[in-house]
């Protein structure tokens, strides 16, 4: 891609910083709970409890420790993560605060399809992809611009990127950005398993998600939410907000290849990473750690490895999906938060279940969590349909 080195817009005159974070994941409620579990290499994957999965081709998932189903569950996940982020940030409500989330629609419950139950208009509206965005705006009192990105697994990574642009353009002083998803659902389990995308290790779900491992056999559907508050640095510091990290750069591309596959050479992924690094005003050698998309599918991990190797060489790389499965529309935001924590604690999280690294994945894989000198880190998210999103974070 012939992106120019001066691709950063002239109006970007100050840094955009992270001042609040909230998370619910299969590993726990709260940012610190998940982070400590990831560092220990804990497992958040187990038998499906949301519904009776007897007879299903896949009987396990990475479910969040929150009660509920469908739209109500997504709303609960969203609000839990949001309130944690707001409490940390203390960002004021008003028209200078916007919202941008990554989310998908919920599937209508079967009885609705069968005309067995008649839903209310509010129940129908709650299924819409922008329902979590509206909820966040209402709870936070955000009266600025709002938008919802729906690009499957790339959704919340792109939501953070779009939020970054809005703050950089000066449309707002702060944005709440993130994503939510809840895919432990009969239709999702059957649909994705029929595509051959899911791991079928029903006898050992704790070993099912194994990014970059030679014996990986698919991804594990998950549930969760991640929310961040990002602000213009001057505004954040003026009000004494905690400055956790700097959101330095964002890049996204299309593969223009196939709906489910990515090009073997990882071209689209490579160019998204390159664009994010250029946007941050950095060089590839500045990146100290990559939190890979690393889904545990044959295709993604091989393609992403090729992209990382080609662009960044032996940069330490791991995927945290081994512990928490694939949170799809939420994964970009959740893994972005893990990157902020990696910068804070100067620790690179390991890759659970990486017992026998696939020799075809020629990247410098971090197997166990370990310390490192990290000034800038990069996180990837790539989606069905061929959207690629990369974000670069720097130390505060």
């Amino acid at each position: 891609m012939a992106l120019r080195a001066d691709a950063r817009a002239a109006w970007v005159t100050e840094r955009v910083v992270v001042t609040g974070m909230g998370m619910v994941s299969p590993l726990g409620i709260g940012v610190e709970a998940t982070w400590q579990a990831v560092l220990r290499g804990d497992n958040g994957i187990g038998p499906i409890r949301r519904f009776d999965a007897t007879g299903f081709p896949v009987t396990f998932a990475a479910e969040a420790p929150v009660a509920g189903q469908g739209a109500a569950l997504k709303a609960a996940l969203t609000e839990l993560a949001l309130r944690e982020a707001l409490a940390q940030s203390g960002v004021p409500a008003g028209s200078r605060l916007g919202v941008c989330l990554g989310s998908e629609a919920c599937r209508p419950p079967w009885p609705w399809l069968w005309n067995q139950d008649a839903p209310t208009p509010a129940e129908i509206e709650a299924l819409a992809p922008d329902a979590p965005t509206r909820l966040v705006a209402e709870v936070a009192g955000a009266r600025g611009p709002r938008s919802t990105v729906s690009t499957a697994c790339t959704s919340s990574s792109q939501a953070l990127g779009e939020a970054l642009r809005r703050v950089q353009r000066g449309e707002v002083d702060a944005m709440i950005c993130g994503g939510v998803d809840a895919l432990s659902d009969p239709l999702m389990v059957v649909g994705f398993s029929k595509l051959g995308a899911l791991s079928t290790r029903n006898d050992a779900p704790q070993h099912a998600s194994r990014p970059f491992d030679l014996h990986r056999d698919g991804f594990v559907l998950g549930e969760g939410a991640g929310m961040l508050v990002i602000e213009r640095e001057s505004v954040a510091r003026a009000r004494g907000a905690p400055v956790l990290a700097v959101l330095e750069g964002y890049g996204c591309t299309c593969n223009a290849w196939r709906i489910t596959d990515s090009p073997p050479d990882g071209r689209g992924a490579r160019e998204a990473m390159r664009a994010a690094i250029l946007d941050a005003g950095l060089d590839g050698s500045d990146i100290g750690y990559v939190n890979a998309h690393g889904t545990s599918t044959q295709q993604n991990d091989a393609s992403e490895s090729a992209a990382i190797e080609a662009l960044l060489g032996p940069v330490p790389t791991s995927s945290t999906k081994g512990s928490m499965g694939h949170l799809v529309a939420a994964c970009g935001a959740v893994e972005a938060i893990l990157c902020v924590l990696a910068l804070r604690d100067q620790v690179m999280p390991g890759s659970r279940n990486l017992d026998e690294p696939d020799p075809a994945c020629r990247v410098n894989l971090v197997r166990q969590s370990r310390e490192g000198r990290l000034n800038h880190v990069l996180t990837n998210a790539f989606g069905f349909g061929g959207s690629n999103g990369s974000l670069v974070f720097g130390r505060a």
Partner: protein, 242 residues
């Protein structure tokens, strides 16, 4: 600068047979369209949700004169919602029925066997973006915004930003929507919406706002192709939700 427009829109309201069970079967429906000129492979058509069927010709017409680098072409798409299941899973759901009610447990066997394997790919939210990108070969910056009117406005802002910052040489911006299927009709009926539903797609091709003098414009045309006259200038994009 807006330099090209492509649209696929209904010519008016007419009775639409699949909605015949509703009090009014009137809908704004597009006839066709003929997809073959816009597909790399004929078999790709089986993956297209209706909104993508409309988007491909609209985007293709807007891009007709573009000869620039497809890696520097952005794609920004608004969708009203995710593509609905247009009855593909009916057999699967019917197989779960017992004594007139659904027995969810039967999805593990009878229902699952009849569930169409390609359905998840037809109902993913970003399928318009994905199919336009794949068929047209667009590899630049992109976004797919979903939801209400905010999505349709938001894509203009995202494209404008990418162009102004120089991350794209040109940007294809548009929206596609279809609500003339039975699943949408069911939801509209439950929401109390009585106006005739419609469908359509429209895409515009934008060039960077920094290009003003005619000399620059000529250089730009050499880079991206002969795209005809400038139709309009995009002045500003603003959005405050109500």
């Amino acid at each position: 600068m807006i330099v090209a427009v492509g649209s696929v829109l209904p010519r008016g309201l007419r009775v639409h047979a699949p909605l015949a069970a509703l009090p009014s079967a009137l809908a704004g429906v597009v006839d066709g369209p003929d997809l073959l000129p816009w597909l790399k492979r004929r078999k790709d058509a089986r993956l297209l949700p209706r909104a993508a069927e409309l988007a491909l010709p609209a985007a293709g017409r807007a891009l007709a004169g573009f000869t620039g680098d497809l890696e520097e072409l952005g794609l920004f798409v608004a969708v009203g919602r995710e593509p609905p299941d247009e009855g593909d899973a009916e057999a699967s759901i019917a197989a779960m029925a017992r004594d007139g009610r659904l027995d969810r447990g039967r999805f593990g066997d009878e229902g699952r066997a009849l569930y169409p394997p390609l359905l998840p790919l037809r109902t993913l939210p970003n399928m318009v973006l994905a199919h336009v990108a794949i068929q047209a070969g667009i590899r630049g910056e992109n976004a797919c915004l979903a939801g209400g009117f905010e999505a349709g406005v938001g894509v203009w802002g995202a494209a404008n930003d990418a162009l102004a910052a120089g991350r794209c040489v040109a940007a294809l911006v548009g929206a596609a929507f279809s609500a003339v299927d039975r699943a949408s009709a069911r939801d509209r009926h439950r929401l109390g919406q009585t106006e005739p539903p419609g469908e359509g797609a429209i895409f515009v091709l934008l060039l960077g706002p920094s290009v003003r003098p005619e000399a620059d414009l000529r250089a730009w045309r050499r880079q991206v192709g002969d795209l005809g006259p400038v139709d309009a200038l995009l002045g500003a994009v603003g959005l405050v939700p109500g």
